[in-house]
Symmetry: D2
Subunit: 129 residues, 4 copies
């Protein structure tokens, strides 16, 4: 069921359903990345932080599901214990999968650090499947 508010919102868009799904997916990956980068993270809180990243993403418009993994292996933080032994969440540590659906069109996107690019790539893995 499309609500009245959704119909109003849809009126602003100049694109087809597939393009809309791609756009919505992009928004969510951009948001996920820039909202949480910099959060203090360690082995002790990585799971709960990842969970919050999933749940805040899933709460947004058109998101069906989100999976987030924080890869601490990439972190500069040593295993030694101590007051300074945590790090801030950086671009290379996030692995995320987000699934959006707009008007029957599903789009699945990935955020992942690609070694050969030295870059946290966000890409469309599947569209309209």
């Amino acid at each position: 069921m499309t609500t009245k508010k959704e119909k109003i919102a849809n009126g602003y868009f100049q694109c087809n359903k597939r393009e809309r799904a791609a756009f919505e997916l992009g928004i969510k990956l951009g948001a996920l990345f820039h909202q949480f980068i910099g959060a203090p993270v360690s082995e002790e809180n990585a799971d709960i932080l990842a969970k919050a990243m999933e749940k805040t993403t899933e709460r947004q418009a058109y998101v069906k599901s989100a999976q987030v993994r924080i890869n601490l292996e990439r972190s500069k933080v040593k295993k030694e214990k101590g007051i300074f032994e945590y790090t801030t969440l950086t671009e290379d540590m996030i692995e995320a999968k987000v699934l959006v659906e707009f008007d029957g069109v599903r789009a699945k996107g990935v955020l992942k650090y690609i070694e050969e690019l030295n870059y946290p790539l966000m890409y469309i893995d599947k569209l309209d499947y």
Copy 2:
């Protein structure tokens, strides 16, 4: 000219050029919003903050240009002077236009607070024009 790195990146995508442009546009709007929301803002620094928002957006992949306006009229902050007379950047204060171009396809997006939705809508204003 497509660089070697861009070709590698393109290999990850399962979509056409228009969908890619829409996706890249979504990323930039989501990033813009979530990176800067919460920044302390007042009449004295709104212009420089808006400029930084434009320039950080323009530095990202496939962005041709970005325009940002911070609408302080919406702010709860009163005109009185004083130590607490500033606010934090909220979703209803940002008006942004971003233009991306991927492989010849241009996509223009807008972020704007829509009164009747009570929501900061991000939408595709023009695609492949």
Copy 3:
């Protein structure tokens, strides 16, 4: 036990223990506020987001404990269901208590929206108790 790294860090400070505890407390409250403001929030994810805010705060240097409550009553979001029925975390929704301890000196701080100030005040509630 003060580690070698802590001793090195302490060498940079020009202040007494109480002032140091106050400073560390300020850092944590400023960080908490600006890291998470803007996160998408609703009744469905407020608890997990608050938990992540607590756990990322507790992971930082000298923090003993943190308690965070997200007050959705303040939110503009209506109870109606729908795709746009969530909001972003704003300054007036966060209620946080953070306890730090530096070299035996405890400092307890609060972040709370004070109606008569129209301002999210961060203050030292107790010091060296």
Copy 4:
């Protein structure tokens, strides 16, 4: 001149003037760090981003001045041109000095990456001088 709102705010604090200045300084450094970490940065926009960081900091309560430098030398980004040749602002790239004054007490703080700590240290450089 202390305004009525400031007096109300001061009533919440259980500490002396020096401790208050130290606390306010901590807030500003924590805020600066966590608000802007993750912003896209390159040689082309580092200056304007640093300027916005200064101006948003200066707008906050009790801040007299702020200086921010973004050290791109630390960045992983290569000098080659290309679509992916920018990075996100990380903890090791920020060098900031902030001066606050509360009721005649000045506190100067620094945020700086300390190599031997492998940590972005925030410290009180001078207090009540």
